[in-house]
């Protein structure tokens, strides 16, 4: 029997959903650094467990505020396959700059909707689809700034509808496979993040503490969420 056909193949897709408004300036470099070193750290972690990922792809959805400046409220990349497209991924991440956004809240739910509608890998034997969202602010209700031409079509009208996009066991309208998906929320203990953490399945919520920013532990949590579950 062909060894290649019987080996268990894992696909991992990760979307980094990053708030790049002005208030994120103190921690954005940490997030970027974490994202840029991520695939190497994940590879090392998997190797330590004698496991391997057959296909790893990374994507970035950076957001600000449609109510403040629609022209730069959303910056998104396609999926980059690692390690072959590491240079393109690094180039995209390196261009991200913290700025604008006005006062909070920001357009985090629209960015999350865009992330959920990513072109997820459907092949191979097992899949892990992860959205890791980093923010220090609350979010507008969906629809805020929706008159802008740049407002994403992927965004549903209400947070109830967004829940259906996320889905649940036995759900029919989800954009992601229930067994494959994880949402990691690195966000303050405010609405809507604490409500999402309570109601959405497969969600790991790490509330940020005022003044502490993001830390090393966040990316360790993401790596653990992958390497422990495949």
């Amino acid at each position: 029997m062909d060894a290649n056909s019987i080996s268990l193949k894992y696909a991992v897709d990760i979307v980094f959903c990053i708030d790049v408004t002005g208030s994120m300036y103190p921690v954005l470099d940490q997030v970027k650094e974490g994202a840029l070193t991520f695939h190497k750290r994940l590879e090392d972690s998997m190797a330590a467990k004698d496991k391997a990922i057959s296909k790893l792809r990374l994507r970035v959805v950076a957001y600000r505020d449609f109510a403040d400046k629609p022209s730069n409220a959303l910056e998104q990349s396609a999926f980059f396959t690692m390690p072959g497209q590491a240079g393109e991924f690094e180039s995209f991440v390196s261009r991200l700059r913290a700025g604008d956004g006005g006062d909070e809240p920001e357009s985090g739910l629209e960015a999350l909707a865009v992330a959920l509608h990513s072109d997820w890998e459907r092949g191979l034997d097992r899949r892990r689809h992860i959205v890791a969202l980093f923010t220090d602010a609350s979010a507008h209700p969906l629809g805020t700034g929706s008159s802008a031409a740049t407002y994403p079509q992927a965004a549903p009208a209400t947070i109830d509808d967004l829940l259906e996009v996320w889905g649940y066991g036995g759900g029919q309208s989800a954009a992601m496979e229930n067994a494959a998906k994880r949402l990691l929320l690195f966000a303050p203990d405010t609405t809507p993040w604490n409500e999402i953490a309570a109601d959405w399945n497969n969600t790991i919520y790490v509330p940020s503490r005022a003044g502490e920013g993001l830390s090393e532990i966040e990316f360790t949590e993401i790596i653990d969420a992958i390497s422990n579950s495949i």
Partner: protein
């Protein structure tokens, strides 16, 4: 779950983490001065009146929750009731829902997982393996497949009265009734320790269905673990072609068992890791063989020729291996003994010459 939070009377006393847990966040907790391990499930979530979603959505989500509760209670009742007295099974003391979220609580066991038992004395080793096998017997008598057995899910607890350790089996959250596993995309298991039928089920091989996922899958895993515990590494297989023992066995390849193993143990492990599910022994017969203290003794001669790269089993190579043909076809063939990666004699174990001609 947050540090300091009180959840149904349990105060979280450590920073919760996902580390080592697949579909949960866990921490330690206290209640009434007693220490506990608390696990928060990531899926499913119970929709409360205040939760998001339409009434129809909530009704569908509650159905999923009822099914989840039923499965957990079924396993828990079988372990906690029918096979009560299994003190080495670290089972749930509490299983409950708080708000939208499910939690499971067990006693906090002062014990740690061991990579292997190669530093243990023969007496210590046999006690660990016997207690592990007896825990497995309790599960199997209840018709339960552990489903995620691996060294990380066996904790060793030191005796308060003797220099011995007992094996504490943990994490039954992915256990299922024999022949009735979760669907292929949801079943849990470790890539390195999974049985070939588990691998085929995950890969949705048409030759395997749910009915093939039985107690024998645990026996395969237990065979690999016994090998690891005794000699410090998995049986050998062609790592240039296969990522795990289950892949090699599925492909009809031979696993290479350590020649250090006692002949009875070698024969036993060979049958435990057989590709033929029906050929694997029951846990009862494994326990019977381990009534003899000598079966944990290591033997074999000093190696003289390196193991071929194809059959190298891990970072370290055991000595005096014998290649076992699992397919049952041709005569077992010998491979040259490998180069040792660790001292031929460990600090605590006595090396026995099993070959009376030497």
């Amino acid at each position: 779950m947050k540090l300091g939070e009180n959840i149904r009377g349990f105060t979280v006393v450590a920073e919760p983490t996902n580390s080592g847990g697949g579909r949960c966040v866990w921490s330690f907790a206290e209640q009434g001065g007693r220490q506990y391990f608390i696990k928060q499930f990531l899926d499913p979530k119970w929709p409360t009146e205040q939760s998001m979603g339409s009434p129809a959505s909530k009704a569908r989500r509650r159905e999923v929750c009822h099914e989840f509760e039923k499965r957990h209670n079924e396993v828990n009742n079988r372990i906690n009731g029918k096979v009560a007295g299994g003190g080495n099974l670290v089972t749930a003391t509490h299983f409950f829902r708080e708000g939208t979220t499910y939690y499971k609580v067990t006693d906090r066991v002062a014990a740690e997982a061991a990579k292997d038992l190669t530093k243990f004395t023969d007496r210590q080793t046999v006690v660990v393996l016997r207690t592990l096998f007896m825990s497995m017997r309790l599960l199997h008598r209840a018709g339960i497949v552990h489903g995620d057995l691996k060294p990380a899910n066996v904790l060793l607890q030191r005796s308060s009265t003797a220099d011995l350790y007992t094996a504490k089996m943990i994490d039954f959250d992915d256990s299922y009734l024999t022949g009735d596993p979760p669907p292929p995309d949801q079943i849990v298991g470790d890539q390195q320790y999974g049985a070939p039928e588990w691998l085929r089920y995950v890969k949705q091989d048409p030759g395997v269905d749910a009915g093939h996922l039985t107690l024998a899958a645990d026996i395969f895993t237990l065979g690999l673990m016994t090998h690891v515990y005794l000699v410090g590494e998995l049986p050998g297989y062609d790592r240039s072609k296969f990522g795990a023992p289950s892949e090699a066995v599925w492909a009809g390849q031979s696993l290479v068992l350590s020649g250090q193993l006692h002949p009875k143990t070698r024969d036993l492990v060979a049958s435990m890791v057989s590709s033929d599910i029906a050929a694997r022994p029951t846990i009862e017969s494994i326990i019977k063989i381990f009534e003899d203290d000598r079966v944990v003794q290591l033997g074999g001669s000093e190696p003289t020729v390196p193991l071929t790269p194809e059959a190298r089993s891990g970072e370290g190579s055991a000595t005096g291996r014998v290649k076992i043909n699992m397919s049952g076809g041709s005569t077992p063939s010998r491979v040259p003994p490998p180069r040792p990666s660790r001292p031929a004699e460990g600090p605590s174990r006595v090396r026995i010459n099993f070959d009376p001609k030497k």
